[in-house]
Structures are given as structure tokens and as C-alpha cells.
């Protein structure tokens, strides 16, 4: 799973897809996840990082992470070909 190369992410949580012209806003956790994705981390590695940092149950995080990554896919912010 990989973030599309040309996606622009600002520190304030503003995300711009220059291919579609669509823009999105993220909260701080969403930003962290997107940044980790940009670094090329797998879903498992992202989950581990977030669990280390935040007081959250693994099951709850997994559910939210699944939904969030699903949304990114729906908005075509994730390269489908590279998904594993």
C-alpha cells in the first residue's frame, strides 16, 4: 500500500491531490498515518507505531485504521497497483 506520489500534504493537515484537484482536511492522527504511509510503512507497521504512541486498544485502532485506509483508497489517494 503506497500513497500516490504527487499528493501534497501540508503540516496543517491540508491534503491536495493535483491529478483530480480534490482537497481534504485531516486531524493530527490522520496526518500521522498519512506521513507514515508516505514513508512507505505497511499497515502492520503503522498500527504498531500508533499503538506505541497512543493509549488505544488494538482492536479499536485496527477498526478505525481499516476504515481510514478504505477511505483513502476510495478517494484514490493510494496507488492501487502497489497494494499488497
Amino acid at each position: 500500500m503506497k500513497l500516490k506520489k504527487n499528493i501534497a500534504i501540508s503540516e496543517t493537515g491540508f491534503v491536495f491531490d493535483p491529478t483530480t484537484g480534490d482537497s481534504y482536511t485531516l486531524n493530527s492522527v490522520g496526518m500521522e498515518i498519512l506521513s507514515l504511509l508516505k514513508e512507505g510503512l505497511s499497515r502492520e507497521a503503522i498500527s504498531t507505531k500508533i499503538l506505541e504512541k497512543y493509549d488505544v486498544e488494538k482492536g479499536v485502532l485496527e477498526r478505525y485504521l481499516y476504515d481510514f485506509l478504505g477511505q483513502l483508497k476510495q478517494y484514490q489517494l493510494i496507488e492501487e497497483d502497489d497494494e499488497n
Binding site: 504527487n6 501534497a8 491536495f16 493535483p18 491529478t19 483530480t20 484537484g21
Partner: protein, 348 residues
């Protein structure tokens, strides 16, 4: 650098809620580092806002509608030319292009330069000729057919399913979800713009557009892709953003290369969920949102003038991505004297 002084005549000054491209074209010309231009506005109506925008338009003249005949229009242009010594004329309405393309040689003899598509280019990109255009130049287009009678809606057969798009020959398009709706739109658009009416397959996806300029020898001088972000009830962009889409640019280069397109153009495209691009329309002139291209680094109106006057023009290779335009309306306070002058004397 000393700027070259020229006089440019521009039409399409109806800067209303469905604006003509005149004022945005003029804004590009005004920002030219190469030309210092006197702008002569050509207006058809007494209340075209551009005529009253004295920062943009130095002098305006009323001209007869092209439908009144080429001879009458040219007579008026000759009168204006005698007073103003026009170097370049940029017509901005689809409905006047045919007349000015036909008159291009005559205009040139008078010393008035244009940079318009050839008659063949103009004709073959007509909405009613889109299927043939797609086949000839290997471009994906929706199925479409020109009809002249409402009963033909019933005879379309299985090739056309609802929803379908009902379009006027110059302007207007509505999506019809049933035969009854299609009939209503047929009558409405035919009443306003005449026949034929174009029936077009509805392609699901996102509308995206490109403004471009061809040099008439197959080279793309500039091209900027855009997505409308806010659309008015008339289907006009009220806001748009420049895109980074190599496929849209590739298609633009292909079309300009294949057709040897001469002049400004707007490509209206649909990008499907499978990322395929369908050409739904070519407007044979710069669009009203052309100033976005200027803002993104491609002054296409200036480049068009250079081409018209025979200056060498290097193609633009970059533009800024993620630049937005947001349109706004603005109430000008105008004097009765101005209105009277345009109404009675036909000039302002």
C-alpha cells in the same frame, strides 16, 4: 524593455453570470511584458459590462450581430478600423467565429490580424460532427447524433439510453433522465439556439477541461488543465483549480498535433472512474476561465497576439499546479452619459 504599442479589438465583453471570454482575455493582454495595448471593445448589447470597464477597455463600439450578415458587420469593422487602426482582432463568441474566419483574408488585407482556426478545423469539431472527429483523430468520444425534429428522439433506438445529454449547437446542455425530459429540453434549447439539437451519450465521470493554444503547425504553444470546483446553475465554472494530469496534456498535444489546430481552444473532457478521457466538446476559442492559465504562468492571450502578428513564440513548458480562480460579481456604478453614448452613438 520598450513595449510594442498595438491596438487590439476584442469581443465577448458580456462579463455576466455566464461570462464571455473578453475581459479575461484583456486581463492577459494588459499583463503582457511585450505589448502595450490599446483595447477596443466590440459589443453587441448596450449593457455589456466590459464596455463600461474603463480600466480594461479603452474604447467600445457597438457592432451588428453576425446573423445580420457578414457585409454589414465588415462595414462596421472597416469604420472602426479607420478610427482605431486595429492590429489584431480577437473574436470570443462561438457564434461570431464563422463570420470572422470567413472574413480573415479580407481583414488581413485591411491590416487586421487574426489567429483563428481554419474553416475545416472549425467545422469538423462541431458537436454534431464529434463521432467523425473521434474516428478521424483516434480520440474517445461519446456517441452523439444531430437531430432536427423532436420525433427523432423516439427513433434513437437502443444506441441511446437514458440519461442522455441534450445539447444546443452553440451553447446549453441538459441531462435528460426520461423521454419526457428530453422533449422539454429539445424545445427549450431549440427555441433559444435553433437547430440542430445534439443528442449525446451520457458518460459518467468527472468533467475536466483544458485551455490550449495551437500554432497551426501542430505545435502546442500552451496548455493548462483545470477542474471546475463550483458550477453555477448554468453549468459555468465559478471556481476551478489547475491540475497535474499528464494524460490530459498528452491528449491535448495529440489533438493539436493531429488537427494542426490554429488558435485558442478549450477541450471539455470527462474522466471516467477507469481514468479514461472522453472528449465531449472542443470550443474553438479561449474560454472565459483563460485568466487562470495566465495566473498559472501561461499568458495565452499574449501568445495568441504574438502568433497573429507573426512573432516567434516559444511553447510554454510549465505551469503552476493547484492554482485556483474564484469568480465574483461586482456592481459597477455607471453614468447615464456612458449608457447614452453607447445607445445613441454606438460608441463609448
Amino acid at each position: 524593455m520598450m513595449k510594442t504599442k498595438i491596438t487590439v479589438a476584442v469581443s465577448g465583453l458580456n462579463n455576466v453570470d455566464s461570462p464571455g471570454p473578453g475581459i479575461p482575455v484583456i486581463r492577459g493582454i494588459r499583463e503582457s511584458k511585450f505589448f502595450e495595448s490599446r483595447i477596443v471593445g466590440l459589443v453587441y448589447e448596450n449593457l455589456e459590462p466590459g464596455a463600461y470597464m474603463h480600466d480594461h477597455v479603452d474604447k467600445s463600439y457597438k457592432v451588428p450581430y453576425p446573423s445580420e450578415g457578414r457585409g454589414i458587420l465588415m462595414e462596421r469593422i472597416r469604420d472602426i478600423h479607420a478610427k482605431e487602426s486595429i492590429h489584431v482582432l480577437i473574436p470570443n463568441f462561438d457564434s461570431e467565429l464563422y463570420v470572422f474566419i470567413k472574413a480573415a483574408s479580407e481583414l488581413k488585407r485591411l491590416g487586421i490580424h487574426t489567429f483563428l482556426p481554419t474553416l475545416q478545423q472549425f467545422e469538423e469539431r462541431h458537436k454534431s460532427n464529434l463521432p467523425e472527429f473521434g474516428e478521424k483523430y483516434h480520440v474517445k468520444v461519446p456517441k452523439s447524433r444531430a437531430i432536427t425534429h423532436i420525433k427523432e428522439l423516439k427513433e434513437l433506438g437502443e444506441d441511446y439510453e437514458y440519461p442522455m445529454v441534450i445539447k444546443g449547437k452553440f451553447y446549453d446542455a441538459s441531462i435528460a433522465y426520461s423521454f419526457e425530459q428530453a422533449q422539454i429540453y429539445f424545445n427549450k434549447i431549440a427555441f433559444k439556439w435553433g437547430l440542430p439539437i445534439i443528442v449525446q451519450e451520457y458518460i459518467r465521470g468527472t468533467e475536466v477541461n483544458v485551455v490550449a493554444l495551437g500554432d497551426g503547425r501542430g505545435n502546442t504553444i500552451g496548455a493548462v488543465p483545470m477542474k471546475k470546483q463550483y458550477i453555477t446553475d448554468k453549468g459555468k465554472a465559478w471556481s476551478g483549480i489547475t491540475l497535474d494530469d499528464p494524460k490530459m496534456l498528452e491528449l491535448t498535444h495529440h489533438i493539436i498535433g493531429q488537427t494542426q489546430w490554429r488558435g485558442g481552444m478549450e477541450l471539455e473532457l470527462i474522466r471516467t472512474d477507469n481514468k479514461e478521457l472522453y472528449l465531449i466538446e472542443i470550443n474553438p476559442r479561449l474560454p472565459a476561465w483563460v485568466y487562470l492559465a495566465v495566473g498559472a504562468g501561461q499568458n495565452l492571450p499574449e501568445a495568441l497576439i504574438k502568433l497573429a502578428l507573426g512573432y516567434p513564440v516559444e511553447p510554454f513548458t510549465t505551469y503552476s499546479v493547484g492554482i485556483l480562480f474564484i469568480r465574483y460579481s461586482y456592481d459597477m456604478i455607471c453614468s447615464l452619459e456612458d449608457f447614452k453614448s453607447l445607445t445613441i452613438r454606438g460608441e463609448l
